[in-house]
């Protein structure tokens, strides 16, 4: 039966489908089309030159390594946070739950500025690190911390509902069968969380790839060392080179889309029971 001739139980399918398609077009597809329009003005050689400029390539390296580190940290911290929020009851739990969403609500520039002041050699936290010669603000560690700050909620919010839905019966069953706590965690709970972890980690990584405001406030922006790709796009815009900026943006976009696609495929391969329709 043709897709458009199906009669689902809920009424209003046609209208709701139309409205959703309209919004997706306006919010996602039209800007993408604009980006491609700028790109179409460039020749292949110009595109390659814009995208393989040594300073731009260095920024890819900085952004990717920063995003990788920050995703790992966000994953560990996020899992822990989600576990604590779901499995325990303590005073202030709701407040902590609400605070997890703070990075979404706070303007990223404010976040970056606050972090840079906090972690500077004379800041509240930075002053304890300074005697050891650890420089956080205006260096690579600061970049990673800013990325962790903005991508942490993704991990927590991905894992929380799945964890909440998993009742205690799995752990209880595992204990009755003689498993230790460690075996229960490693072989019963974590495997069930793997899709949520994948989703959270990929969202965190992709967010870190594109993060601008928080990172430029704290990273120092030294070319070839702490300059991220979003800043390179901004620099190209300042040179009124819209085509080159679009080229670099399309690389970031392409990387994100590729990653999302790969993750979908991987999930299907690694976790056959998660595939729809099985």
């Amino acid at each position: 039966m043709s897709f458009f001739k199906q009669h689902p139980t809920l009424p209003g399918f046609g209208l709701s489908f139309g409205v959703s398609a309209l919004f997706i077009t306006l919010v996602i597809l039209v800007p993408l089309a604009g980006l491609l329009a700028y790109l179409s003005n460039m020749s292949g050689a110009q595109f390659l030159a814009a995208v393989t400029d040594p300073r731009v390539v260095a920024s890819y390296r900085v952004t990717l390594t920063g995003a990788a580190y920050s995703t790992l940290i966000a994953l560990v911290v996020g899992l822990l946070l989600a576990w604590v929020l779901v499995r325990y009851r303590f005073p202030g739990r709701e407040l902590l739950d609400a605070l997890v969403d703070l990075p979404f609500a706070l303007p990223t520039a404010v976040a970056g500025l606050t972090l840079s002041v906090l972690l500077a050699p004379n800041g509240w936290v930075g002053q304890w690190l300074a005697p050891f010669g650890i420089k956080v603000s205006y260096a690579f560690p600061g970049l990673v911390i800013a990325m962790v700050f903005t991508s942490l909620p993704f991990v927590v919010r991905s894992v929380q509902p799945v964890l909440a839905e998993m009742g205690p019966e799995y752990e209880e069953a595992s204990h009755t069968l003689g498993a230790t706590d460690w075996q229960t965690t490693w072989r019963v709970i974590l495997p069930a969380l793997v899709p949520a972890i994948f989703t959270g980690a990929s969202q965190a990584f992709i967010r870190s790839l594109g993060e601008f405001g928080a990172v430029v406030m704290i990273a120092g922006n030294i070319p070839y060392t702490t300059e991220i790709t979003s800043l390179m796009i901004f620099v190209r815009l300042s040179e009124y080179d819209y085509a080159a900026a679009s080229a670099i943006a399309s690389v970031v976009l392409g990387a994100s889309l590729l990653l999302l696609f790969l993750l979908q495929v991987l999930q299907g391969r690694l976790l056959p029971w998660q595939r729809p329709g099985v």
């Binding site: 400029d53 040594p54 300073r55 260095a58 500025l113 840079s116 002041v117 500077a120 050699p121 004379n122 800041g123 603000s137 205006y138 430029v216 406030m217 120092g220 922006n221 030294i222 070319p223 070839y224 060392t225 800043l231 901004f234 620099v235 190209r236 815009l237 300042s238 040179e239 009124y240 080179d241 080159a244």
Partner: protein, 352 residues
């Protein structure tokens, strides 16, 4: 057969009350929007990042002056950001009536795209520059590293902070200051100039995107030994309530770059909105003795002879080099030094 019942209360509410409310609100809205707009005019002045305090002081004075002269209420909106960002915003459609920038190139960009007429520099006195400044250094209390001139900035033990030259006009002047100083010192030897400026760029600890970001990094977060920014900003930071306690010192090098602050009416927008008269009056107001004195109090150098004499003590007599005299037209300077792959990019890529 359908039973005819009395209309329910809900029905009455829907049919009569809501419709009346809608009709009344439509009437109210149309009255408000149809009211004559000439009672209040609004102009938008887009400025560079560190001009906040200056225009907060100037705008009320102009509003009073305009009201006295023409009886009209004027609302002045202000926008502050790096001047290149402002130029881009205007190119992309921001309806700014006038611009007060810190870089001639950004006004030229708008002129090239037809938003400002090509001979904008002749529209107002002194090449449309009511005030000018130069690049000076802000150093720590007691000047522990004994930083006196541009040479000291290239020493191995000195770390610098200034904004990203790609995004900030302020920083481009610092770059030009270094280049022009080296040019004077080495008698025009290009290789030596490059080595000098390259060394200076290597000493930079942090490249925040704007002037104020650099101030935060230096003054608040203790980065670097010297902050390079406009003389006006250096003095204002040292004297500000926030940072007075730090005892930061102002060092004005004996040779530095002339930074003219251009102003212009955005012709296309002003003609479209009919605000040309107000905009021109505003910019001319910046040349009046009262405002020139105010500018001097913010440590901007002015041209008004009387004010210059009065405030001579504030401004050390130093040699100011105009980049256009040495490096050619601003267009050429931009293309050679600041464009993608230009000298700045080459020097930043050295040794990385």
């Amino acid at each position: 057969m359908i039973a005819h019942t009395r209309p329910s209360a809900h029905f009455i509410l829907e049919k009569y009350v809501i419709k009346r409310i809608l009709a009344l609100s439509a009437l109210a809205v149309s009255t408000v929007t149809a009211a004559p707009a000439s009672a209040q005019q609004t102009i938008l002045n887009t400025s560079y990042d560190i001009a906040r305090e200056l225009f907060t002081a100037i705008n009320p004075k102009f509003q009073a002056d305009w009201k006295a002269k023409s009886g009209q209420d004027l609302n002045i909106e202000q926008s502050f950001a790096g001047s290149s960002r402002q130029a881009q915003a205007i190119l992309q459609g921001l309806k700014a009536d006038l611009v007060t920038f810190n870089q001639i190139t950004d006004v030229d960009t708008l002129a090239q795209r037809g938003l400002i007429k090509k001979d904008w520099q002749k529209a107002f006195p002194n090449n449309s520059s009511p005030y000018y400044s130069t690049i000076a250094f802000l150093v720590r209390k007691g000047n522990p590293k004994q930083i006196k001139t541009w040479d000291d900035l290239t020493r191995d033990d000195v770390k610098l902070v200034f904004p990203n030259p790609k995004t900030s006009g302020n920083a481009r002047y610092s770059y030009l200051g270094a280049w022009l100083y080296a040019n004077e010192k080495f008698g025009g030897d290009d290789a030596k100039n490059r080595a000098f400026v390259g060394k200076l760029l290597k000493n930079v600890e942090s490249f925040p995107t704007g002037g104020r970001g650099a101030t935060v990094a230096f003054a608040q977060n203790n980065q670097g030994d010297a902050l390079l920014t406009f003389e006006s900003e250096v003095n204002n930071i040292a004297a500000s309530d926030e940072f007075k306690a730090l005892g930061l010192e102002v060092v004005v090098p004996p040779v530095s770059v002339l930074a003219e602050f251009p102003v212009a009416v955005v012709d296309r927008v002003a003609d479209e909105k009919g605000t040309r008269k107000v905009a021109e009056a505003y910019l001319n107001y910046l040349y009046t003795p009262e405002i020139q004195k105010l500018l001097a109090s913010f440590y901007y150098r002015v041209h008004d002879k009387a004010v210059v004499q009065e405030t001579a003590k504030q401004f050390p007599a130093i040699k100011l080099i105009n980049p256009q005299d040495v490096l050619g037209a601003w267009d050429d300077i931009s293309k050679t030094h600041f464009a993608s792959g230009g000298v700045l990019d080459q020097l930043l890529a050295q040794g990385r």
